[in-house]
Symmetry: D2
Subunit: 305 residues, 4 copies
């Protein structure tokens, strides 16, 4: 397995130069394009890590499945589903919705920014401070990493420049889909997107989803199996932005990418995988990261199809 | 002429019931749907007024041609045109722009909210307070009415609920089309939309545009003839929202409507007209107001085509 | 006037190189980009022609106002309006309509291909052969040129390659907007677009529209004044494709362009103008042609605003 | 298992009344809304059928995965992928594509009509007659049913009224994505959509996809495992039209529906399922059919997530 990972990383590394580090958030542009790491946690309790697996980066959109999980846990499927639909939109993750009709939940899903921001309002907490504490706490449990914290520079950089997300949130409010103070919601969203993680953390998230919410070491149930399947299904159809169809063909397992360069991928009942390589393709997915997952999927026959 | 106006008002009044008073701003919903007035100022220095011509209402989108005029006056055609295009969008006035490409000036025009908000940033002033004073002052001069003031209730109502405009403004900022503080710009926009006017005021605006910026009593030039024609041309193609084509057929002169129920219509070199009837059609235009203008245009052969 | 035209042509000629001859119909690509002509017919019965004013080219979209006129004459405003709306679409002339709802007349106008094709079905005639004879006859009368005929090569070239128009026509049929045999309608449309005209012919069309359907030499009424104004109004808002707003600013009179390189422009009650220069801008309008009209409008103060 | 199926059919039957039989093809409207059948083929070589499992209906869009399989088999992944993308479009299956840019393969996928029609041109054969024979033959092999034939009435009904598909095909040709004679391609498409099948046939298609192309009785390989996974992945993200996301949540396996009322569903390595109930929801999927699959998935834990 270690030799396998080594080969895959070597083969995939040359694709780094086909991508570019995200620059829409100034602070993200400082990432080192050469960083490339991977971590695999398998159901036989083995952990394989290679390369820059412990280099920290911001979680960005990979927080979306956790937001979805908390919204499900704090309310229920009916309320989550009424607020945010589950169909792919055929558009980029930060697209302004356009429809001849009023915006409704049917136009969005939990993996595009509009949908994720809407779901933030369902997380329990008397204040956004409390909501944040609860989500951070949950993320620490899911990653099995009690030291998680946010990257203040990225958070502030995003807060300063994240006007598209503000626009999306005001649109949600204009159509009465959310009632919250927009500045509070987007501040919350910018903070949770700025949580620093590494490949091991991502692999832990994926591993828990692969085991449908049950901690394999302790036997403890962190979230319900039904919600895990809800999240995995949404990841399959919408997790890799408008590259989800291609990813289903080439890798064939639920996954979520972030513009920080991370991808977490869930092989149900088999393994959780975290990869990191910050050079992105035009759709916002890590180029070498996808290549590495493609190699892993082919060699280990991970596709669920 | 007075008999003519009387007939037209009588004929048009029955169309009021085909429309509905705007309710997207709570305070606007309180308007009296039965109010119906008209004022005509003609180049032979006659003034004809009838019905509820002196009932005040908020100017709303009819401020857009004045915003455009001031942006032109404070900068020049090149800067205005670079920021905001002049093509009809084929969409409602408050539509979220959707395009496969990044938002640019080519996608908007000065008569949709996005375009008008962008142009607010070109008005001179060290602060939005000063910009507001200057625009209010200009509006007083154009309407020949030094007593104009804003309707505080409508302003606050709009400020509380105008999240679609906030979303549009953040979108402009996200695409680097404006640099201003969004909350300041939209506050400015809400304030100028809340200026209280009546049919006489609207007729004065139209009369000055009909005479290409020259005050017919004093001979004073208020704005350049070139800018007046710029405004009139834009009104012709985009002034009545996505009902501008229909209005060109039926009335045939440049005009601008507002969701407050007013319409100001410009018969070049002949007359300026203001009408008021707050029941709107689905596109946001005063139903009976359009009917009255249609009657006037037919009887007086006002069409410029 | 002759000196004026000469100056304008000289000034405008250098803009030819900013455009490109249409190539989407193979046969059109053979046009000589250096051809540049103009013809003006004024209400004082003067005719001024200059440059390549008698070089023939295909009428292309400039047939659209004549199709509209015949559809109006053969039915009435209500039927024309029910089938084809009058609002600018904000999209290119050959765009595929996209809407969340079923396609209706409200989504199109007589100056985009979809609308023009729909209107062809309203022209009277037991067969498309007869419809064609009648439209050609009418065009001969309007242009005061009994020798008009079609350019067989362009017609066949367009018939062979005009699949976008076929797609648009089948879409009209799929939404039950037309009942005709699609191949017959588009064949008719390709034929009438291939009528060969020159600047004098275009000036005659424009001159008759400028005089609201009354032949100034004979006093004969060719079409009703009401229909002339209908056409002029539609030309103002939609005649120059998605460049109509810009044209309203810069020239300020109703006009129609064709991808053959012609533009006919209507100065109501004053003059009719035909220009020809086949190098087009990205929106499909003759670059130097627009410049020449801009010069004429400024010098002669033609703007109706 | 038989008792289980009986319960599921009884529970699901009441949802029939929430749907409506397709009426866009006149002949389809004659289907009996009360028909409801199911067939399950499992990897332990058991076959369970219930209700109207042997009532024939037309395959409609369920032919799309077979078209895709043949296109893959007759060319290769690179050519198929270059012609037709794999991303969900967020739009109905028969939507007219709208984009600011020219239409390319990236805008479509094999499960929407535009994509399926494009792929028909890749099937080998000197004539469309031969292509048809080959596709029918392949369908007979996949369904293990040598008696398959087309429903002439539905075929002719669709041929007479299928103008939206003609429009889509001409659009493909206009953008140089296909070179074929449009009438021939759509005639081919109408014919293959009119193949009569029943629940057992659909279960056989699904069963072969579940076993990645290998006939479980004979051990014969019908198509490559790689292509089976390609098809299954595309079915997961796009197989149930713009209801694919919801289906992934509720049922969790690749599936394809047709407006004839059938659904075939693939539980990889476990079973193939065919259901039939012609009352459709607004997205074009069998209402009771989805409910039955939901019941089966929950009881047998079929979800691949």
């Amino acid at each position: 397995m270690e030799a396998l990972l080594k080969n895959i990383l070597e083969d995939s590394r040359r694709f780094i130069k086909e991508g570019a580090v995200a620059n829409y958030i100034p602070e993200l542009a400082k990432a080192n394009a050469d960083n490339f790491g991977v971590c695999v946690l398998s159901n036989d309790n083995q952990r394989y890590c290679l390369g820059d697996y412990n280099v920290p980066f911001t979680i960005q959109s990979i927080i979306k499945p956790i937001i979805l999980l908390m919204a499900l846990t704090d309310t229920d499927i009916a309320r989550v589903r009424a607020l945010v639909g589950v169909e792919a939109t055929g558009k980029p993750f930060d697209a302004f919705n356009y429809s001849d009709q009023a915006l409704t939940g049917e136009h969005i899903n939990p993996m595009i920014n509009t949908g994720a921001i809407a779901l933030c309002t369902l997380i329990r907490g008397r204040s956004y401070e409390e909501k944040f504490s609860r989500l951070l706490e949950m993320t620490k449990i899911i990653t099995d990493n009690p030291t998680l914290e946010i990257d203040e520079k990225v958070y502030l950089s995003e807060k300063n420049t994240g006007n598209k997300n503000r626009a999306l949130a005001y649109m949600l409010k204009a159509y009465n889909m959310i009632d919250a103070d927009v500045e509070e919601v987007v501040d919350f969203y910018f903070r949770v997107c700025s949580i620093k993680v590494n490949c091991v953390d991502l692999a832990n998230i994926a591993f828990l989803l692969a085991n449908h919410g049950e901690n394999q070491k302790t036997g403890e149930r962190i979230f319900s199996a039904q919600y895990a399947k809800y999240v995995n299904a949404v990841l399959m159809t919408c997790g890799m932005y408008d590259g989800s169809g291609e990813f289903a063909l080439k890798v064939g397992i639920p996954a979520k990418s972030g513009v920080g360069g991370g991808i977490m991928a869930v092989a149900p009942n088999r393994m959780g995988i975290g990869v990191y390589s910050p050079a992105l393709d035009k759709k916002g997915n890590s180029v070498a990261g996808i290549k590495a997952l493609e190699g892993l999927s082919k060699t280990l026959d991970l596709s669920i199809f």
